[in-house]
């Protein structure tokens, strides 16, 4: 293992974070004559617009102009893959929060005040809001998908036991602390410089260009860092960049659009909530023989990324279990609600939630320790190791992780103690549960698995690094600088990390799917390989050496000599050696049949497991997470401090999804939870002090990923399913007859109480 990767390097911006010196989009010194935009949006979910009267808006204090659909020179759409995400609507209302116009004023406050003064008359129509409603009316954003293996129908009939049920997992607002924001600055020739809080600068560039009806090369997007993304800025940021750009172009002035928290929560998409209906056949010991699942998700008004998200839910319905016969129907429901979008895990959590609930329900039905049932169903190393989509699993370590964690967490001992506690207590009941994860890494849309980089070496030996990834807190920049430093044998301090910039690295993919380090790291290595080839050729010629050349500790070693890296660079420059190179990377081996969904969608899998212990008050449903133990596989870690942060943070975010975070909609579709006073993400009090995270010690990526590390962004999110199943265990302990099959997510006190009585 390389020393650099075992060094304790903190987040590259840590010092700037704690001093307030880290610059986010709203902190960039404002250009002179900057104007501010605010969006006027619909207050109902469906209807025909009869009149849009903006007189009072225009006459409001400080207002410069208003923009509507008529001001769009190009396409009125910010949809990423499929069309359907209108910027402004003018004839019909399709969801609550749909933009109708934007007002441009001298300040953010005046713009927002003016935006509330519009007189818009709408003839309201009956909207489709719920998943069940959409299914009934066959209202879909995309065609249903099916995936089958074996003979589910017959095998179900022949199973020793059959269990049927329904499940529901709720949506989730991203609640990145930095809200959506973009600032556009006109340049020469109608070009625009855009600062945007986005996970996807290249697509921002492309979409803004199409909206303005200009070439892609006239739009320049720059992102230094964003204040959290979690998928919420993969496509949802485009709308704001586009509106600011339309205004900038119309008025030839810089325009900033910073969205208020409530407006952000109303206007942007969330995690898809899912409804599942299942029938499972299993042996008396709990071995699954056949499973039929109907899954349906609330996609909102447009397709956005819903296709790939629902595909990933299909791909993760097995989690770590071999299901010999399976029949999946997946429905992508179109509703009159804001279009749901990417969120950490991207459908994976919902798929896993389904199977983990099923396993828990099977265990309760046959009154067996769920740990046994889970282990019985695990994929094996040499047999039963092919997924339902036909991919052979060759890197399976779940059994090892599970066994280590059972021991480390003293699961069996604690389970007995809990039983004693429950026998004694009348009102309070405890529960404990262990769940595994197996999460596939790669974009399931194969062409997205590519990345670029640009590395410059200046004549003093310092290095300037660019790539296509976005720093959103995940420590990407730190890891990529470490990789650069490692490849060049050069101290970390000499590596300059700069803003991600569409003029430096073009045609990038979103920072998403956990694979940003894998992909961009690969591209950087490729760029440095080219640079080193130039340098090596120069050394061979200039110093007349034939030996191997090593780059280490700021020196270059060859024959028995060494010179400083700086000296080499200075000499190379004088001898006219190119000191700048781009790099490119694409993931190998992956391939899927887009019609059948079968093939190899992933390069590899990450694994992990968590044990949660909870206590539930059976009179109120109040509950508390008492202890969590985790072992998680990150391969051979590039930076353990950063990886640990991802595991802990992902876990708590998942906990929020499954416990406190509940999105409420009015019957007519208006979202009711659009502020932190009604939508509750976890606070410090939800995090147990006993949150013990261990990085899997034998972690190693069998595939050729940088440092043999593994992706870490999304997978730990799903470890929190163990907290939900622990609550199910507590509910079961409170009411053995009824079981916990009726508990839906999020497990709020109310939902818990409902499942007990």
């Amino acid at each position: 293992m390389d020393k650099l990767f075992t060094k304790n390097i903190e987040h590259e911006s840590a010092k700037k974070h704690v001093t307030g010196k880290a610059i986010y989009t709203d902190d960039i010194p404002e250009p002179q004559n900057l104007l501010h935009a605010a969006i006027g949006y619909s207050n109902c979910s469906k209807g025909i617009i009869k009149k849009i009267d903006l007189t009072d808006v225009i006459n409001s204090e400080g207002v410069i102009d208003v923009i509507t659909e008529a001001d769009i020179k190009g396409v009125n759409d910010v949809g990423p893959i499929f069309k359907g995400d209108k910027i402004f609507t003018s004839k019909e209302i399709e969801y609550h929060g749909q933009p109708i116009f934007a007002v441009i004023a001298k300040s953010n406050i005046l713009a927002k005040k003016a935006s509330l003064k519009a007189n818009i008359i709408v003839k309201e129509l009956k909207p489709i809001i719920t998943i069940k409603d959409a299914i009934k009316k066959k209202s879909y954003v995309l065609k249903p998908r099916f995936l089958n293996r074996g003979d589910t129908k017959n095998k179900l009939k022949k199973s020793e036991n059959i269990l049927s049920g329904e499940l529901y997992s709720g949506g989730q607002d991203h609640f990145y602390l930095e809200g959506q924001i973009a600032m556009t600055i006109p340049q020469e020739d109608d070009n625009f410089l855009i600062y945007s809080s986005t996970q996807h600068p290249s697509e921002t560039q492309q979409i803004v260009a199409k909206v303005l009806n200009q070439n892609f090369n006239s739009i320049h997007v720059v992102v230094r860092r964003i204040g959290g993304g979690f998928g919420g800025k993969e496509t949802q940021s485009f709308l704001f960049a586009a509106i600011a750009a339309i205004a900038s172009k119309k008025l030839n002035k810089p325009v900033k659009l910073r969205v208020d928290r409530d407006d952000d929560m109303i206007m942007t998409g969330k995690r898809h909530d899912f409804y599942f209906k299942y029938t499972v056949g299993f042996s008396n010991k709990g071995k699954i023989n056949a499973l039929k699942v109907i899954m349906a998700s609330r996609c909102g008004i447009s397709a956005d990324l819903s296709g790939a998200i629902n595909d990933r839910a299909i791909y993760h319905i097995d989690n770590a279990y071999f299901i010999p016969n399976i029949e999946i129907e997946s429905y992508r429901c179109k509703t009159n609600t804001v279009s749901n979008t990417a969120f950490r895990g991207f459908g994976g959590p919902q798929g896993m939630f389904c199977i983990e609930n099923i396993l828990e329900n099977i265990s309760q039905k046959i009154n067996e320790d769920p740990i046994k049932v889970r282990k019985l169903n695990f994929y094996k190393k040499n047999i039963n190791n092919e997924t339902h989509y036909g991919m052979k699993i060759t890197d399976n370590v779940i059994n090892d992780i599970f066994n280590q964690l059972i021991k480390k967490s003293e699961y069996h001992k604690r389970k007995k103690e809990i039983q004693k506690f429950n026998d004694k207590q009348k009102v309070l009941k405890k529960g404990i549960s262990i769940t595994p994860i197996k999460f596939g890494i790669s974009f399931t849309t194969t062409h997205l698995n590519q990345a670029g980089a640009l590395v410059h070496i200046y004549t003093d030996g310092s290095v300037h690094l660019n790539h296509g990834g976005i720093e959103m807190g995940q420590g990407l920049m730190t890891k990529l600088a470490q990789i650069t430093s490692h490849e060049l044998g050069l101290s970390y301090e000499f590596i300059k990390i700069t803003s991600t910039d569409t003029e430096k690295v073009p045609n990038t993919s979103a920072s998403a799917a956990s694979a940003t380090t894998d992909l961009n790291g690969g591209a950087i290595i490729n760029a440095i390989y080219k640079l080193k080839s130039n340098l090596n050729n120069f050394i061979y010629d200039h110093y007349n050496v034939k030996s191997i050349i090593r780059y280490e500790n700021d020196y270059v070693h060859f024959d028995k000599r060494k010179i400083t890296f700086k000296e080499l660079i200075s000499k190379a420059y004088l001898n006219r050696v190119s000191l700048s190179s781009s790099g490119f990377f694409k993931t190998s081996k992956i391939d899927i049949n887009t019609k059948t969904l079968k093939g190899r969608p992933f390069l590899y899998f990450t694994y992990g497991a968590a044990v949660s212990e909870v206590i539930v008050d059976t009179l109120t449903g109040e509950n508390k997470l008492l202890q969590v133990d985790i072992i998680h596989d990150v391969g051979n870690s590039i930076n353990k401090r950063i990886d640990k942060g991802q595991i802990e943070g992902g876990f708590i975010q998942g906990l929020g999804w499954l416990t406190t975070e509940e999105i409420s909609w009015r019957k007519d579709g208006n979202i009711l939870t659009h502020s932190p006073s009604t939508y509750k993400i976890p606070t410090a009090g939800e995090t147990p002090f006993k949150l013990n995270v261990e990085i899997y010690k034998s972690g190693f990526n069998k595939e050729e990923v940088v440092n043999r590390s593994k992706a870490v962004g999304e997978p730990p999110f799903m470890l929190a399913i163990s907290s939900f199943t622990a609550i199910k265990d507590a509910v079961f302990n409170a009411n053995k007859k009824k079981g916990s099959a009726n508990l839906i997510a999020p497990a709020t006190p109310e939902n818990i109480l409902k499942s007990i009585y």
Binding site: E10, H11, S13, K15, H17, V18, T19, G20, A22, I23, Y24, D26, D27, I109, K112, H174, Y176, L177, E178, G179, G227, G228, D260, R261, D262, V427, G473, V616, D617, L619, T620, E622, N623, K624, R641, I642, G645, E648, F651, I652, Q653, E662, S664, L672, S675, P676, T678, K680, I681, P682, T683, A684, G685, E686, T687, F689, P749, E750, L753, Y757
Partner: protein, 471 residues
């Protein structure tokens, strides 16, 4: 002499302000006027803490510091205060709270970090012990979406281990002392902002003004500006009025000045009503408790204000002043949704809480999240059980109607009854008739009803030493 400007110390600089709009928040002033962008806007409603800063005021001849949400604090309320923002913590070296956060990896995306640093600083300057309980309490008003909080908690545990940064407090103290506490009247574009340091001048100005807003913590009022985008014409800031800020115990009564903050009340309550004090620890967040006043909670008369059912169950009284002084029982004070008996040009001066030495007080708060959450239902029970007979009982609930509501039928049934499980089971049936709650985002009607029943059972359990709470 009334002044037409305010003076305060921003980090190390004495500033004077008078030409800025009266509705301006401290956050907007910092970011827009002073270009101090370390302090962030996350929600503009006092819920996320990204905007946290620390303010100091002279009290008992020294500066007392506390954390606040700058997004819901009005700029002009800063007169004669010291405002510390994240930019000023680093002196020759980083501050210990900053070093500790770096070493424990307390930041990821970093957007919430300045606010968290300032909450930690609020704890640090007051030398608060970093127990698990205190850590959760002091972090209750800061949301972080990346880290899951554990590294932040660890950095608080360790923050006192770092070498101290020397800060010149004497100079600040002397500067603050020099700022005269004259009444303030800021006029800007027909809007006015008043600060009175004495009751007499306050009442005089109040009588002359027809439409006005009374402001203490602003945890409710400021949202009219930051969310509803209203302009508040005449604001009377009461938070600096020493004649409204006191807590005294006299003749078996606790007397609390209306502008006294929740955190100033808690230590006294701990002595007489520990369950009430404990409830207040879950009231809003640390930043809110530092500025929100009891009078504000009463004046805004929200049916979900957590202190109201407790005060009602304790048969507390309110003293109002205006043209005349009135004493009103809590039972009679609330008329309808956010409507009280408070007449025009009157304000709450004092709250009087009787001390029931032989009674048990229960304060049950049920919410989705333990900290910084609004109750879906709140129940307060004040009871006295003698020889296993219920000799006194008062049950009041919040979140069950448009005002805090007394469970009259249940009380009538339980009084003088034996304190047995059977009787509680019967009372559970009766309490259903006491309330007719609504469905909303916090809970359904059915859940609220069920909980009101089950909390009676919890009361019985607790009195019989059966463990009944997960917290």
């Amino acid at each position: 002499m009334t002044k037409d400007n305010i003076n305060f110390i921003l980090n190390n600089e004495l500033v004077s302000v008078q030409n800025i709009e009266t509705n301006t928040t401290v956050l907007n002033y910092l970011r827009n006027d002073k270009k101090l962008t370390g302090t962030k806007e996350g929600c503009a409603s006092g819920d996320c803490g990204a905007c946290t800063a620390v303010i100091g005021e002279i009290k008992n001849n020294k500066i007392q510091y506390k954390s606040i949400n700058t997004c819901i604090t009005f700029l002009y309320s800063l007169n004669a205060k010291h405002l510390i923002t994240v930019e000023s913590l680093e002196k020759q070296n980083l501050h210990p709270v900053q070093n500790s956060m770096i070493d424990k990896d307390g930041s990821q995306c970093g957007f919430c970090t300045p606010g968290i640093i300032m909450s930690m600083y609020g704890m640090y300057v007051n030398n608060v012990k970093p127990t698990n309980h205190n850590i959760d309490k002091f972090l209750s008003g800061n949301l972080c979406r990346c880290t899951g909080y554990l590294p932040i908690k660890k950095s608080i545990k360790d923050m006192y281990k770092y070498k101290k940064n020397i800060i010149e407090t004497k100079k600040i103290f002397n500067q603050l002392k020099k700022i005269k506490k004259n009444d303030i009247l800021i006029s800007k574009n027909k809007s006015k902002f008043f600060i009175h340091y004495k009751l007499k001048s306050l009442l005089k100005d109040l009588n002359k003004t027809s439409d006005y807003y009374l402001l203490t913590g602003g945890t409710d009022l400021s949202l009219e500006v930051t969310k509803k985008r209203k302009n508040l014409n005449n604001i009377f800031y009461l938070g600096s009025n020493e004649e409204l800020k006191y807590i005294r115990v006299k003749n078996n009564n606790i007397h609390i000045g209306a502008a006294t903050t929740i955190n100033e009340i808690i230590p006294v309550l701990e002595k007489y009503y520990p369950t009430f004090a404990k409830m207040f620890e879950r009231y809003g967040s640390e930043q809110i408790r530092n500025t929100a006043s009891l009078g504000g909670n009463i004046g805004s008369a929200s049916p979900i204000g957590d202190s109201l059912p407790v005060l009602m169950s304790l048969n507390s009284k309110i003293i109002t002043i205006g043209k005349i002084k009135k004493i009103i029982y809590f039972d009679d004070f609330f008329i309808d949704y956010r409507k009280t008996k408070l007449a025009k040009n009157e304000l709450v001066k004092e709250i009087i809480i009787p001390i029931y030495k032989k009674n048990t007080l229960k304060c049950y708060k049920i919410s989705k999240r333990i900290d910084d959450d609004i109750s879906s239902i709140f129940m307060s029970i004040n009871a006295r059980v003698e020889n296993n007979t219920i000799k006194f009982i008062k049950i009041v609930s919040g979140g069950m109607a448009s005002t805090p509501k007394i469970a009259k039928l249940t009380q009538d049934y339980l009084i003088n009854k034996e304190f047995t499980f059977d009787k509680i089971e019967k009372a559970k049936k009766i309490i259903k008739k006491d309330f007719n709650p609504l469905d909303d985002v916090r809970a359904s009607k059915e859940y609220r009803t069920k909980i009101s029943q089950n909390l009676l059972e919890r009361f019985f359990n607790e009195e019989n030493n059966i463990k009944s709470s997960v917290y």
